[in-house]
């Protein structure tokens, strides 16, 4: 039986740093909301935008995994 792990490897390695980045963004946003709960309305969209940028890098590797 033939099987390949390249797709899984691509996502695993390519998803490493974006996962870290999203964790950091979330942690900092929580910290900011904890310091200033009234600003949560302003922090949330900025956090989501930052997460979208970090996530995009994981998405690139996901595409590669699909088309490999």
């Amino acid at each position: 039986m033939e099987f390949s792990i390249s797709g899984g490897l691509i996502v695993a390695i390519g998803g490493l740093t974006p996962a870290l980045a999203i964790g950091l963004i979330g942690a900092k946003a929580m910290e900011a909301i904890g310091r200033n709960p009234e600003a949560s309305g302003k922090i949330l969209p900025a956090m989501l935008l930052g997460m979208a940028f970090a996530e995009a890098i994981a998405i690139y590797s996901l595409i590669l995994a699909f088309i490999k």
């Binding site: 935008l49 979208a52 995009a56 998405i59 595409i63 088309i67």
Partner: protein
């Protein structure tokens, strides 16, 4: 499972009409229909529908003003058009049955419609329009000389920076188009996979996630276009704030 390329439904001469193309027509129809519905019932004292549309537009105009300042009136039409088009195109892929109703071709179902932004041609086209509009607006606002001075200079250090700027213009197109395409296409595949695991209730949280992803990616594309325009429309020599990307 969604195929990587958009599948042709029928041909007009040599021009293949794909399901993604049909979906862009549907999105256009929805947007034009919305506009006509709003324009027909314009009143000085707005009804419910008009109030919703007006508050959305004014909210986004304030957002544009906070980033672009005095250039907001020129940037806002592009921002709002990109946002509405991409948002509705992303969400059409989530309409129940849209990926299931189609013609049978060699044992596989070719759907009549698919989310327009899950076809790379559409997102690449959007990115090209966005970057071209950015440069045209830049030349119109700051003038051709100031525009060129951003990329070419007699000072060797600035010449090198100009070279980097030219490369960054090309990467803008790649990152804009691949970000949108990847997110929506991956979403379609995830939904397909999850539905084959267990068809009831289980895909619901993923559908919710895809609704949010569609909104966020539309916002990201539009906001990035706005930020690029705002940066390129400020004269090169009096640049006060830099928007990173």
């Amino acid at each position: 499972m969604v195929s990587f390329a958009a599948e042709p439904i029928f041909n007009i001469g040599k021009f293949a009409v794909t399901n993604a193309f049909l979906d862009t027509l549907l999105v256009d129809g929805i947007i034009v229909g919305l506009i006509i519905a709003v324009r027909k019932n314009l009143k000085l004292i707005p009804g419910k529908f008009q109030t919703i549309i007006e508050s959305i537009f004014s909210e986004f105009y304030l957002l544009t003003e906070s980033v672009a300042g005095k250039n907001a009136a020129k940037i806002f039409p592009f921002f709002m058009t990109f946002f509405l088009f991409i948002l509705i195109a992303n969400w059409t892929g989530l309409i129940p049955g849209i990926n299931a109703i189609g013609i049978k071709h060699e044992g596989e179902i070719v759907p009549f419609l698919r989310a327009a932004t899950s076809d790379f041609n559409v997102t690449l086209g959007l990115a090209l329009v966005s970057i071209t509009a950015t440069h045209v607006l830049s030349i119109k606002t700051v003038g051709i000389l100031d525009y060129l001075s951003r990329y070419f200079s007699l000072n060797p250090i600035n010449l090198f920076i100009g070279l980097l700027e030219i490369i960054s213009e090309i990467t803008k197109i790649i990152s804009l188009s691949f970000r949108l395409f990847g997110n929506i296409f991956a979403g379609e595949i995830v939904l397909g996979t999850v539905s084959t695991l267990f068809a009831f209730v289980f895909p619901l949280p993923f559908l919710m996630l895809e609704v949010i992803v569609g909104l966020v990616q539309a916002l990201v594309f539009a906001m990035l276009t706005m930020a690029f325009m705002a940066v390129l429309m400020t004269p090169h020599h009096s640049e006060s704030k830099e928007v990173s990307h």
